[in-house]
Every structure is written in structure tokens, then in C-alpha cells.
């Protein structure tokens, strides 16, 4: 069963507002199937890739990826990398000086 059914209607579309940032380097992927189950946002699927060493590879579904970082530590060969934010695309927010760091 899916862990998550997509990000609509709440919260507002991450994909539009923020560029997705996880990406699979397909030539490194060993098709071990470990990353799809750890993704809490159903943003990783396995796809057939004829010609790939393992005939399959993990693929990020950009519309679902929130860039949370869970998948990075699920990959045994570090085949998942960042797409860095491009200047102007992300909308960084900084905390007010009143705030200490937090984790809600």
C-alpha cells in the first residue's frame, strides 16, 4: 500500500513553489529496492531500464518530493544526490532573532 497519496490538496504544491531536490544517479543505482519504502511521500518508484546493468532503476517523482532527506540514508551506494537550489528559485526564510532553533 502507498504510504502517501500525494501532496494535494494540502499543503500547497511544493513542486511549483520549490524545485525538487532529490535525484537518482541511474548508473550508480543497484536496483536494491530499499529507497521506495523509506520515502514517506511516495516520491520514489522503481522503473524498468533496458540496457541498465540491473535492468531497473529508482526514479524520483518530482511532484511528490519534498526534499526531506530520508532516502539519502536508505541508499547503500549513495546513488541519490541533491539537485541544488538555483538562485532565485527557492524562497529562503530565516528565523527571527527571538527564536531559538526548534523541532516541532
Amino acid at each position: 500500500m502507498m504510504k502517501y497519496r500525494g501532496l494535494y490538496p494540502f499543503p500547497p504544491s511544493f513542486a511549483k513553489e520549490f524545485p525538487p531536490i532529490a535525484q537518482v544517479v541511474e548508473e550508480h543505482c543497484i536496483a536494491c529496492d530499499r529507497c521506495p519504502p523509506i520515502c514517506f511521500f511516495d516520491a520514489i518508484v522503481m522503473e524498468n531500464r533496458p540496457g541498465h546493468k540491473y535492468s531497473r532503476t529508482a526514479v524520483i517523482i518530482n511532484a511528490n518530493c519534498t526534499g526531506c532527506g530520508l532516502c539519502f540514508d536508505a541508499c547503500p551506494v549513495d546513488a541519490i544526490i541533491w539537485i541544488p537550489d538555483k538562485d532565485g528559485e527557492a524562497k529562503p526564510k530565516t528565523a527571527s532573532p527571538l527564536m531559538e532553533d526548534t523541532d516541532l
Binding site: K3, R34, G69, D73, C75, T94, D101, L104
Partner: protein, 341 residues
């Protein structure tokens, strides 16, 4: 035999609730929790407009520590290191989130809010009540700098303001700390309906290769299966002195963990990390494990065993102590020198 649990005047079909966080951030997740027979869902914490920056999340915001990559993610002990922020929509989005969820789902919904001014706490609580939530959890344990916004402002004033503004049940969620028991007492005196114990610990980790702090570079919330031991203690301590119900949360991976919380006096138990790493099916699995335990022990309702382990707690004065080995004589002899006493 039934898992049905009475909590804050609500009838929950299970004591297992989804804790506030990334698994209760939108309407579809409420439905998933309901399909898995969760007892209730505590919605993701919404922050007041003053804390608008907390609607934006750093990326990445999680890191799995001690995660055994070779075990297909079946690590028994791991840590979820996170810099999780608030609900990412506006407050209007949040009220709608409550309304839409309430229209479509039967599972009781407990909204969660965070603010600092007493007025904001009260206004937001009112809106939550008007939006149809069954109760509210005040995420009061977050994130003020000690000294800048003091205990009185952030804690007592907030609870009092909310209690004066709404008529539905108010849970107060507290962070683990040496002050916790005192805060439990104060929350109860202020009229809180229940306590949620505890928020996650704040931790820190460093990458020794890059010689820099990991993730976003600052302190982070840290939890995992090991975290239950300190919350079990906090729940027990609070249960011994509180008359209001307790919702325990921290490190729950199995039905056994839920039973432990109940034996120490918790009425409900909130789970989250287990859903994130093992999937939504964890809720139904945990329910089943509780039922199996009840069957094995001949328990028809969890209320029969609630707080039972507290009664068996030993007072330090009663702990039987034996003297260790005598420290005079040979224990004080330096063998190499053969020195005499």
C-alpha cells in the same frame, strides 16, 4: 475484548493515536490513519503568523542515523534526526484542513497549535474549535529561548488564555526536562484536560570527516525506538501525581511499547516515527499486537491494567541493598608490591 478507549469524553476505537507531525499534515493522511483504525489523529502543529518562517522547511530536514542499510530498513534501533518545522500552509489553510478532514473522516481530530502571545494562543484555539476539531493540543514545549520569553509568558499565560477561550478539551504537550513534573502540575492547575508526554529531545551530531555539524548545522530534534525509556519514566512520574489523563509518546515501535505506556498510567499513546519508516500499516499491526497481549493476559479492557506497574514500583527506601565485597583486607592490597595493610 476491546481496544475502545475513553479519552477526553471521546470514544476512541484504539488507544493508538497518530502524533502531530509529517504524518498528519493533510487530509489524505487523515484518511489513511482512519483506514488503519487509529484511535485519533493529532494534526500537524500550525504556527501563529508571527512565526511564519516556521512554515518553511529546510531541505533536507531529516537524517536517519544508525540506520542499517544492509537490513532493508529493518533496523531495530535507529535515530530520526530532524529539523521539522510547522504546518506549511497559512492559518486559513489549516482551518480548512480541519473542516475538510472533519467532513470526511470519523476519526477524532486533535488540532495542534503553537504561538507565543497569549492572545494568539487564544485566537487560534477559538478558530480551531470553530473549525470543528474535537480537541486541541498546545505544543507549548517548543522553541523559546530560555530567558527571552519566560515560563510565565509562554506557559501559564498560554494555557490560561486558551482555557478561557474554548470549551473543548485542551491537551498540553510538554518537553522532557528536569522541570517536567513541575510543568505537569502547573498545567493541571491551569485547567488542562490532559497531558501529552513528551516532545522529542533536542540533540546534536557532527560529521567527523567534514568536521561540521550535520544536516542544517544547528541542534535538531532526535528520537527513535530508544527514546521510550525516558518518556516511560516521565509518564510514570506524572501519572503518580496527576489526576488528568496522559497521552504518552516517544519511541513506540510495537504493541508491547503501547502496553508499557498503559501499565505506567497512560490513557492513549501517540506514534509517528514508526509510521514514517515502516509505513501506515504499523498502526493496524500495533493494534493487533495489543489485542494479542490482551487475549494472552485475559484482559478485556486496557483500563483494567492502566497504571498497574505503578502500583508495583518500589520506593527507594524499600529497595533491598546488600553490602558489596568487604573493602578492607585483600581489596586494599596492591598485589604487585604485596604491601601489607
Amino acid at each position: 475484548m476491546s481496544l475502545t478507549t475513553s479519552f477526553l469524553g471521546l470514544t476512541l476505537q484504539s488507544p493508538v493515536m497518530v502524533a502531530s507531525g509529517p504524518a498528519s499534515h493533510d487530509v489524505n493522511q487523515v484518511r489513511l490513519a482512519e483506514e488503519q483504525h487509529a484511535g485519533a489523529v493529532v494534526l500537524k502543529t500550525a504556527c501563529s503568523d508571527k512565526y511564519e518562517h516556521m512554515r518553511f522547511w529546510p531541505r533536507p530536514r531529516y537524517k536517519l542515523l544508525d540506520w542499517d542499510k544492509q537490513m532493508d530498513g529493518r533496523s531495530k534501533v535507529f535515530s530520526l534526526y530532524s529539523y521539522e518545522q510547522g504546518y506549511s500552509g497559512t492559518l486559513e489553510d489549516y482551518w480548512k484542513f480541519i473542516r475538510v478532514s472533519k467532513e470526511h473522516a470519523k476519526v477524532p481530530l486533535i488540532a495542534s497549535i503553537f504561538a507565543d502571545d497569549a492572545e494568539d494562543w487564544a485566537d487560534m484555539a477559538k478558530r480551531v474549535e470553530q473549525s470543528g476539531a474535537d480537541a486541541i493540543e498546545l505544543d507549548i514545549s517548543s522553541p523559546h529561548k530560555p530567558g527571552s520569553l519566560g515560563f510565565e509568558t509562554t506557559f501559564v499565560a498560554a494555557i490560561k488564555a486558551v482555557m478561557g477561550a474554548v470549551r473543548f478539551p485542551v491537551l498540553v504537550k510538554l518537553a522532557p526536562s528536569p522541570e517536567l513534573l513541575h510543568q505537569c502540575r502547573v498545567a493541571e492547575e491551569c485547567g488542562a484536560s490532559a497531558l501529552t508526554l513528551c516532545n522529542r529531545l533536542r540533540g546534536f551530531d557532527v560529521d567527523i570527516e567534514t568536521q561540521r555539524p550535520i544536516l542544517h548545522g544547528n541542534f535538531a530534534g532526535v528520537g527513535g525506538p530508544w527514546a521510550k525509556y525516558y518518556t516511560l519514566r516521565h509518564v510514570a512520574e506524572a501519572a503518580l501525581v496527576s489526576k488528568i489523563p496522559i497521552s504518552g509518546t516517544g519511541g513506540v515501535m510495537s504493541g508491547e511499547d503501547v502496553i508499557k505506556y498503559v501499565l505506567l498510567g497512560a490513557t492513549t499513546v501517540q506514534i509517528l516515527s514508526v509510521i514514517m519508516v515502516n509505513g501506515w500499516e504499523s498502526i493496524a499491526r500495533i493494534n493487533k499486537e495489543i489485542e494479542e497481549y490482551m487475549q494472552r493476559k485475559g484482559v478485556t479492557s486496557l483500563s483494567e491494567i492502566r497504571g498497574k506497574a505503578l502500583q508495583a514500583m518500589t520506593h527507594p527506601e524499600e529497595i533491598i541493598r546488600w553490602s558489596g565485597e568487604p573493602k578492607s583486607g585483600s581489596r586494599n592490597l596492591w598485589k604487585e608490591t604485596g604491601e601489607q595493610e
